[in-house]
């Protein structure tokens, strides 16, 4: 099967407009005869459900949490990008498009990214109209901040809780439609399979997580918006319940899975403190606007700090290695995430990690506090301010900017980050890879769409900060509602999809069989035992740096863990009740397959690009020596995998990437 | 508007309005009684006015009684409703960690005040009504002071009054600011109201206590 991205013809600037003008529409009177299922209610799913309902479709929305508002989009802290150019610093749709393609290391689909940049400004208008309380300046206009990998200030934010506020906006739009009866909301429900009738996605099988009941839901189209698969690493910044099951189920029913190896390891997370750790906590990238990252220059100081003989504040400027500023003078601490993460790993691997586990670097606000303090002293006309006064004034500004993040850090680590530098280390955060979709956001299963983090399309091999929120909302509010109409226009005479067909029978039976298996399996080990083992293999061998040998080992080991899982897993309780262990078992079973495909994809991609770093592919000489080396000649394609049973047997389909409007360059942040 | 007083917030507002009225009444009551400390004549004069003025007797007195009864009945209704809203009780609940004793026990301080009012009505009001409207006797404008003094002779009554007034103080310590909060007072006034509430909830009961003790020990 040849992949058709269905990118419209014409100049990139006009593609989306022309396309919208020409697609089929569904008459408002007919929309009420059409049902759409949306799985997941984060920014993408929530905004899609609200918009589709507003247009007149009957929407059934599913969330595993007890409210759509709790989806993990809520945890995004820093902000959302939009090419508004309110700051007059030279921003434009083109520049946002360019930055995103470059930030993604030239592995995203150009037309999709341009469309994203084009609708970005609308998102801000929309959210403000919905009552999202973005930060404002004293003139009452919207404020912006700058994020990694770009040279303009285009990030809109709501304190350190931008994701929460945007999700509450989408959620309020959903509530309006739930009140109108246009969205039927299924909280505490988990999709366990997609049902395909005559080659088209026509419904899902879902489990009511309170009663354990298996339910059939039919629709004319199914939208998957279930987020990323970062929890394949066990430890990540994802929510505990974040899972890949919906995406993986459609993959197994015919949707190709693209670029699973593109995973973002976020540079600023709170380091791991012990084996009991259940998740990692992100500290917003916005901290890098003011924080300087360093490790000691001398290994003796590292030892002294680890043994508690020295404190980081004892070290003079000369004894510190601000390695990002040293290696990347142009972008300094604001290099993109993948670069910052690898640089931290490089220092820690060399033995310079500053905590007991050897996996931590400092993020230091002392210079920012001093700078702001001096500024404030000037503003308030304080002559010859004392050092204490400067610190006091500076801390106030830092508190106003990052207060909630500092408080969160102090609660978790029990150290005051105003007085001593924060410790940070990279952690799995976002997955750029995902279900392959065409320009319409439709997967290779007709009628099955995939939006938000769950799809692969817009971020290439690396996502820039504050772009995930933008993509989720763009897909849900402004892209899918158009493109899905083009497909549904053929369904106006179909009528309600019956749920008593043999396709539903079969899908339900398979789901029930699997649940029965888990409940009845007399194993000896908990689900978490296997999940942790999978996570360790993934982190050690498919983590920030990968090589052929490690990846091959990972594939074998994951397969082994999977086989053992199916023999030895133990799930207490029964099927017909709330059973969190049973929920986890199903999710981990899918991760155990996805992980292997992930490693296979990483093994195939013998180049370094974005979040995917192959140790075999680095610059050997020149100014960029040691930096990641991309191979555009052989690898400028999307790797879309077709399911064939075992993950190792997956078949590769290539979508060649064409860059007509951007010249492929080495990504330099020096 | 009719819907308003059926809503939970409407009932809070009604509670607050009756509380304002009662708090205003307390000021007047104290102002009259305090004169007994230094001028028998003035006290008698004021009491006579209050006791015989038709506006006070026929309009304000019924309003006051309504206010008292309303405040109590509404208090009970809300308490019952709130109990029902709670469902299963906690095995362990550390209320002191986040709220004052006064705020959590308004119903109990209120009940003590109610019991006190029964005694108080029996002491003064029943007698007044009897003298004025049932076994009508000629008005003696100088009887009030002596009646007051007489009442405070027995130790048990003084003790009961003092205890009741302490509870009233505790009731007011929460009730004063609470009433303003229910009426939607703005954040800017919070600090001032808190100070005022403190002063009010101490001065009013203390005033009554001083009166009771003064007459007990001076006669």
């Amino acid at each position: 099967m040849a992949l058709d991205s269905k990118v419209p013809k014409g100049p990139i600037k006009d593609k989306w407009t022309d396309y919208k003008n020409k697609i089929n529409l569904v008459n408002p009177a007919n929309k009420r005869h059409i049902d759409v299922i949306v799985v997941g209610t984060g920014l993408a799913g929530g905004s899609a459900a609200a918009t589709l309902a507003e247009l007149g479709y009957n929407v059934k929305a599913f969330a595993y949490q007890d409210s759509p508002r709790r989806a993990h989009s809520i945890a995004a802290q820093g902000g959302i990008n939009a090419a508004k150019n309110y700051q007059g610093d030279g921003d434009s749709t083109y520049r946002l498009f360019y930055d995103t393609v470059k930030g993604g290391d030239y592995r995203s689909r150009e037309a999709n990214v341009y469309r994203l940049a084009e609708v970005s400004a609308n998102i801000i208008d929309q959210c403000v109209a919905q009552g999202v309380p973005f930060a404002r300046d004293y003139g009452g206009l919207l404020d912006n901040r700058s994020f990694g990998g770009v040279l303009v200030s285009r990030t809109f934010y709501a304190k350190g809780q931008t994701g929460q506020q945007l999700l509450l906006g989408a959620y309020s739009a959903m509530n309006r439609q739930i009140a109108r009866g246009k969205i039927e909301m299924f909280n505490r429900h988990e999709m366990l399979d997609v049902v395909i009738v005559d080659g088209k996605a026509r419904g899902i099988i879902a489990r009511n997580l309170i009663t354990g009941e298996i339910e059939r839901h039919s629709a004319h189209a199914v939208v998957i918006a279930s987020g990323g698969y970062g929890n394949v690493y066990f430890l990540s910044t994802n929510a505990m319940g974040s899972n890949a099951t919906a995406a993986w189920k459609i993959h197994k029913k015919g949707a190709f899975f693209a670029n699973p190896c593109y995973t973002q390891i976020h540079p600023t997370c709170i380091p791991r403190s012990g084996d009991y750790q259940s998740k990692l906590t992100l500290m917003s990238e916005s901290l890098r606007n003011d924080g300087r990252i360093w490790v000691p220059k001398n290994i003796e100081d590292v030892k002294a700090i680890r043994e508690g003989r020295k404190k980081p504040t004892d070290l003079s400027e000369d004894e510190r290695d601000y390695y990002l500023e040293r290696r990347y003078p142009a972008f300094g601490n604001l290099v993109p995430r993948d670069v910052a993460s690898r640089a931290a790993k490089e220092r820690c691997d060399a033995g310079y990690g500053v905590n007991a586990t050897g996996e931590a670097v400092y993020l230091d606000f002392a210079s920012a506090i001093e700078r702001y303090g001096k500024e404030q002293a000037k503003i308030h006309n304080i002559q010859n301010p004392s050092k204490e006064k400067i610190t006091q004034l500076g801390e106030k500004i830092v508190e106003a900017k990052y207060g909630n993040l500092f408080q969160m850090y102090e609660k978790i680590v029990d150290e005051n980050p105003y007085k001593t530098p924060m410790m940070i280390y990279p952690a799995t955060h976002y997955t750029m890879g995902g279900v392959w979709v065409d320009y319409n956001l439709m997967t290779t299963i007709p009628g099955c769409y995939c939006i938000g983090e769950a799809n692969f399309s817009d971020h290439g091999a690396n996502r820039l900060g504050a772009s995930a929120l933008m993509q989720g909302l763009a897909d849900g509010y402004f892209v899918l509602p158009y493109t899905i109409g083009d497909y549904l226009a053929d369904d106006i005479r179909t009528g309600k999809i019956p749920t008593d067909s043999k396709e539903f029978d079969e899908a339900e039976k398979a789901v029930k069989d699997r649940i029965e298996f888990f409940i009845n399996n007399k194993g000896s080990k908990s689900v978490d035992y296997f999940h942790k083992r999978l996570g360790k293999v993934m982190w050690d061998k498919v983590g920030m740096a990968r090589n052929e040998k490690g990846l091959k080992e990972a594939m074998t080991e994951i397969k082994q863990i999977r086989e053992e899982f199916w023999k030895e897993v133990k799930v207490p309780g029964s099927a017909n009740e709330m059973n969190p262990e049973l929920e986890k078992a199903g999710r981990v079973a899918d991760f155990l397959e996805l992980g292997e495909l992930f490693a296979k994809d990483a093994l195939m991609r013998e180049e370094s690009c974005g979040g995917h770093f192959r140790e075999e592919s680095v610059e050997e000489s020149g100014e960029q020596k040691g930096e990641a080396k991309r191979n555009d000649k052989e690898f400028a394609f999307v790797a879309a995998w077709e399911y064939k049973g075992e993950p190792a047997d997956a078949v590769l389909h290539k979508e060649e990437l064409e860059f007509k409007d951007i010249e492929l360059k080495q990504r330099s942040y020096k | 508007m009719s819907g308003f007083f059926k809503s939970s917030i409407g009932r809070k507002v009604a509670m607050a309005l009756s509380a304002f009225f009662l708090m205003f009444f307390l000021i007047i009551h104290l102002a009259v009684n305090i004169t007994s400390l230094f001028s028998e004549n003035l006290f008698n004069e004021l009491s006579h006015f209050m006791g015989t003025n038709p506006l006070v007797q026929l309009v304000l007195q019924p309003v006051l009684i309504f206010g008292v009864v309303f405040h109590f009945v509404m208090g009970f209704i809300l308490e019952l409703k709130n109990k029902k809203a709670q469902g299963v009780a906690y095995a362990r609940n550390n209320g002191a960690a986040n709220s004052t004793w006064m705020s959590r026990n308004m119903i109990y301080s209120g009940l003590v005040i109610l019991a006190f009012l029964v005694v108080h009505f029996a002491d003064f009001w029943v007698h007044e009504i009897n003298v004025k409207y049932i076994n009508v006797q000629p008005e003696d404008p100088s009887r009030y002071y002596h009646e007051l003094v007489e009442k405070f002779l027995p130790m048990w009554r003084v003790t009961a009054y003092v205890v009741a007034f302490i509870l009233l103080g505790l009731h007011l310590a929460h009730g004063f600011t609470s009433a303003f909060q229910s009426m939607g007072s703005t954040a800017g006034r919070k600090a001032t109201l808190q100070k005022l509430g403190k002063v009010y909830s101490i001065v009013i009961p203390l005033g009554f206590i001083v009166i009771a003790l003064f007459h007990h020990f001076n006669h």
Partner: protein
Amino acid sequence: MNLTLKIWRQKDSNVRGQMVEYKVTDISEHMSFLEMMDVLNEQLVNAGDEPVAFDHDCREGICGMCSMYINGEAHGPDRGVTTCQLHMRMFNDGDTITIEPFRAAAFPVIKDLVVDRTAFERIQQAGGYISVNTSGNTQDANAIPISKHAADEAMDAATCIGCGACVATCKNSSAMLFVGAKVSQYALLPQGQIEAADRVRNMVAQMDLEGFGNCTNTGACEIECPKGISLDNIARMNRELMKASF
């Protein structure tokens, strides 16, 4: 450290529950409270028992899913945190910790420590939104300047995570801090003015219908709220309702 846990166990909403005692050992003070619960559950699963069901998801204090009443306080003894951010360093070796579900008639127990908070959903559906279509054809975001003060105050109200600690901690099981925060966010912004009267009326009516109690201004909710939502939001809601009614 070694701890004794007294935990509410209840099979489902139809049966009565009871407190059950458990022991956990070797708990690190750096663990979060939920990680301590993970240790207990792993122990229970390995022993062939049913683990304790509890709600949790993001484990970074923002989703509002976690919801335990620990030693008599919503989200435990620490301030400004949810249970997932509560750390074991708040406790001492040998402590007995009582863990109960959030209690309120409007929050029925689903299982063990998991409660049904969908009453909050219905309150929001009653009016917790601005009726604007998601067409993208709204006016420019900077067309209406909003004073920084109002925007910041709206943001403070909007930080509510809907966890229900206010209800759980209130002796009257009142939801007014939650509803007050929602009403306030929109009442403070010009975009929210058009529907302000209907919004507050409908949301309060739904709140009453759900069987939440009546606020008596104890202020406990404000103290226990992990996001520090201020009581002023309740006062604002009261004002809004009076404005809408008279």
